[in-house]
Structure formats: structure tokens, C-alpha cells
């Protein structure tokens, strides 16, 4: 490696860990061997960081307005994503639907799997040990801490992303939004509602 190398790592505030050194060494070898360029890697990082939940919110609004699309989204999330014009890459998306009887929430207890192609970079709390350990053990308590009180007669379904699937919650469409445009509906849909730690707020409250 050269002394004037230019690579996309932050100035660390702590001594480098073994795995940080390993990833830097791997990155530099790939660049030196011409397998990827630093610009390729930077472009991919920018693309990752540039993905926001906005398109996913539009997808949710479209599913609310088009029952046939909603059925396709629930049957095969990645295919419906592609149909809607969002590239799922190699991601296998499973969409789980909230109803008046069921509330869904997503976690990855083993690491921090997240539908990045759809929702972008996950929030810090999603990757925290506290969220990952607790939401499977006491989901209602965790949701209450997010400000979401789940009534006793509503079933809570936790989805643990342990393998190849990635998950998005299709939240409940709020009441009093009949006749709203997809654009106006999409503006109500938050990232947390698509993880399941929030609901889409009643339009009257917004």
C-alpha cells in the first residue's frame, strides 16, 4: 500500500480493530489488483447512502390505492418492487401487511439485516443490541417505548430476518384519507411505519 492512498474510511477516533484493518487491507488489495477502483467503491457507498425511504413510501401508497398491486406485493415483494420501478437487486423482499387485528414488526436478532435496497441505510437503533434482543422477548414493551400502544386484542407478529429474506411492513392506511392522491398519502408514510415501530398517523393528527 502507498502512503498517499486515498480510500473511503473515516479518520477513526479509536484504535483500528482487527476487522477494520482486515477490510482496509482487502479493499486496498482489490484496488491494487484492478478488480475494483476506489471510485467504484465510493460510488457504491454514495448510492447506498443516497437510498431513502421515499420510494418505499410511494410503493406503500400505491399498494393502498391499487388492490391488485397490493396482492402482487404481498405475493412477491421483489417482483412488485421491480414492477414499480425500484431495483431490488438480489434482495428477496417479503411484505407483511398490518390489519386491524395484526401488527407486524421487523428485526434481525443475529446481525442487522435490513431491506436497504428499499429503505436505505437502517437507523442506528435498529442495529443496537437492545432493540435486537428485546423486540423478540417483549415486543409490546419495546413498541410502547416507541410510543406505540398495541391493544390487547391485536396480535403482534415479530419477523426475525435470520436468513435470505428481507422484510417491509405494509402499514394500515389511516382513516379519513379517502380520495387522497398517492403523493399525498406517501407523504404520511414514515420509515419507522415500514419497520413496524410506528403506525401511519391518522391524517387528522398530522
Amino acid at each position: 500500500m502507498s502512503d498517499d492512498h486515498d480510500h473511503p474510511h473515516d479518520q477513526d477516533e479509536h484504535p483500528q480493530t482487527y476487522h477494520e484493518r482486515l477490510s482496509i487491507a482487502l479493499f486496498e488489495l482489490l484496488v491494487e489488483k484492478g478488480i475494483v477502483s476506489a471510485a467504484d467503491v465510493q460510488a457504491e457507498i454514495s448510492a447506498m447512502e443516497g437510498r431513502t425511504p421515499d420510494r418505499a413510501a410511494q410503493l406503500v401508497a400505491h399498494a393502498w390505492c391499487d388492490p391488485a398491486f397490493k396482492a402482487r406485493l404481498l405475493a412477491d415483494g421483489s417482483a412488485a418492487m421491480r414492477e414499480f420501478g425500484i431495483d431490488p437487486g438480489t434482495m428477496h423482499l417479503v411484505v407483511v401487511e398490518d390489519t386491524l387485528e395484526t401488527h407486524n414488526v421487523i428485526v434481525c436478532t443475529l446481525c442487522s439485516c435490513y431491506p436497504r435496497m428499499l429503505l436505505g441505510v437502517p437507523p442506528g437503533w435498529y442495529k443496537s443490541r437492545a432493540y435486537r434482543a428485546r423486540v423478540v422477548r417483549e415486543p409490546r414493551t419495546v413498541l410502547a417505548e416507541f410510543g406505540l400502544a398495541i391493544p390487547d386484542d391485536v396480535t403482534v407478529r415479530v419477523h426475525d430476518s435470520t436468513a435470505d429474506m428481507r422484510y417491509m411492513v405494509l402499514p394500515l392506511r389511516p382513516p379519513q384519507t379517502d380520495g387522497w392522491s398517492e403523493g399525498k398519502l406517501a407523504a404520511l408514510v414514515t420509515r419507522d411505519a415500514m419497520i413496524g415501530t410506528a403506525m401511519v398517523r391518522d391524517a387528522a393528527l398530522t
Binding site: 428477496h92 436478532t109 423478540v136 409490546r140 396480535t155 407478529r157 435470520t162 436468513a163 435470505d164
Partner: protein
Amino acid sequence: MTGFALGSRVRVRAFYPPGHLRVPSYARGKTGTIERVCGTFENPERLAYGKSGDPRMLYRVRFAQSDLFDTPHASDTIDIEIYDHWLEAV
């Protein structure tokens, strides 16, 4: 390896080998129901060590929250993706 039908009852092997595993320990030895057949995927427990993928059938298994943790909410559930080599028919 025979497949498991949708809705059939399966038990997760109570198996605690070292290494990269994709079955949370809280589900091992527990019984649930096949919620969905996800398809065939390469086994990440081999891929993690640079071995060939050894394609496996992947299932989503639904557990009653109360079978895994202490909870008064009988209808709450946890769905987990589990490869067939971790499952046995009940």
C-alpha cells in the same frame, strides 16, 4: 431431504455447534408451524467458510411467542427463517 408442507408442525433441532449459524438460540428445540416455503438458497453456514453453498430449502416458521418467552399475550407470534437441515417433523 423431504420437504415440509405449509402448516405442518416442525421442531428446531436443539443443536449448539460452534461457528456461523443462522438459527437464533432462542428458537432451538422449539416447535412451530411452517408459515411459508421461501425456496432454495445456498446454505450460509457453509458459504461463511468459503465452502460450496449446498443449496437448502428455506422455510419461514411461525412460533407462538408464549412458547419461546414468558408472555401473557397468547396470540403473539415470532416468524423465523430456518433451513431444512435444522428442522424435524413433529
